[in-house]
Symmetry: C2
Subunit: 187 residues, 2 copies
């Protein structure tokens, strides 16, 4: 259950309104924890009720009016405790790997196009991450926060690199295999 902690982190980095948070969950934070605005508004309500965050004063609390939140000490404490709390990695659940397995029993119809499409998407994401790395993390000494953020970005880069390499190999294999089957058939 990490959404509240994602929001606490984002708000500590910079107090924001729901919509501003939504935008940040489409970019930086969203690169490793995605969330929609519905999730965010609901969770903001819960966090406020639990006393972990509060609305910044001087607010007109009405629908359609901007509400800025900031983290209270209790919220910071909760986040600090969560950072070191043991939590096992979730078992993998990847539809593309599953589809490959399914293709083993019902055939690869249409799957090659889908693999190619995913390869393109992952290549695009990788390029985006690498541009960010070049822009935000020049070589040389850096503070603790910057090093941690760079490490997270590195995670994203390495993960996309894995996908690009694996998909490339998968395509070569599936297409090559299809070819081998054809040549066997025609022999």
């Amino acid at each position: 259950m990490s959404l509240p902690h994602a929001i606490l982190t984002a708000l500590l980095e910079k107090p924001s309104s729901g919509l501003e948070l939504t935008r940040r969950f489409d970019k930086s934070i969203g690169y490793f924890w995605s969330a929609t605005h519905q999730q965010i508004y609901r969770e903001l309500g819960r966090l406020e009720e639990s006393g972990l965050i509060r609305v910044l004063p001087a607010e007109r609390p009405a629908r359609g009016q901007k509400k800025e939140y900031e983290v209270l000490p209790a919220g910071r404490d909760e986040l600090a405790a969560w950072v070191g709390r043991p939590e096992d990695p979730k078992p993998v659940r990847d539809p593309l790997l599953l589809r490959l397995r399914a293709a083993g029993v019902v055939g690869t119809g249409g799957l090659v196009a889908e693999l190619r499409r995913h390869l393109g998407l992952h290549r695009g994401q990788l390029a985006e991450y690498e541009a960010i790395e070049e822009r935000d993390f020049p070589p040389g000494p850096s503070g603790a926060e910057d090093r941690l953020r760079h490490l997270v970005l590195r995670g994203g880069i390495d993960l996309e690199t894995f996908w690009v390499n694996w998909l490339t190999q998968a395509l070569a294999d599936v297409e090559g295999g299809a070819q081998r089957s054809r040549s066997r058939d025609t022999r």
Copy 2:
């Protein structure tokens, strides 16, 4: 929504009862699509209702009695269509990357132990996958189904390798950084 397709794939590979499926979702299939027995029983009910699978005849349909399911032609068709159906990769949502980012704002208390623990878990999983690869996929020519299964296993291996490498680097970085901070502090 891939659980029904995971079950169809498993049932095509071998007709099974709910509990047998549960066990297989703890092993082979579960390596890339996990599911609990509650999910499986509920989904088996739905799939039967939709006419994609059926209970094998010669059954005593009572509580506590084994019920074996098999895939009907409609189920196979649905699975074949799903294999090529476009579906974007889900955005990444990883608690560990998030915790690293959070550590940037509230400090790394307890996180190093957690990173080390995860490194151990991923090393274990990697070893398990590699043992399976050695046992089930000896070098040499192989059929289409085997090649696809091997490809999926390769995905698991590469993914765990990514985690092992990234965690190793993260640990070196976080501990090294802490050391640098300490030596700066004491200067």
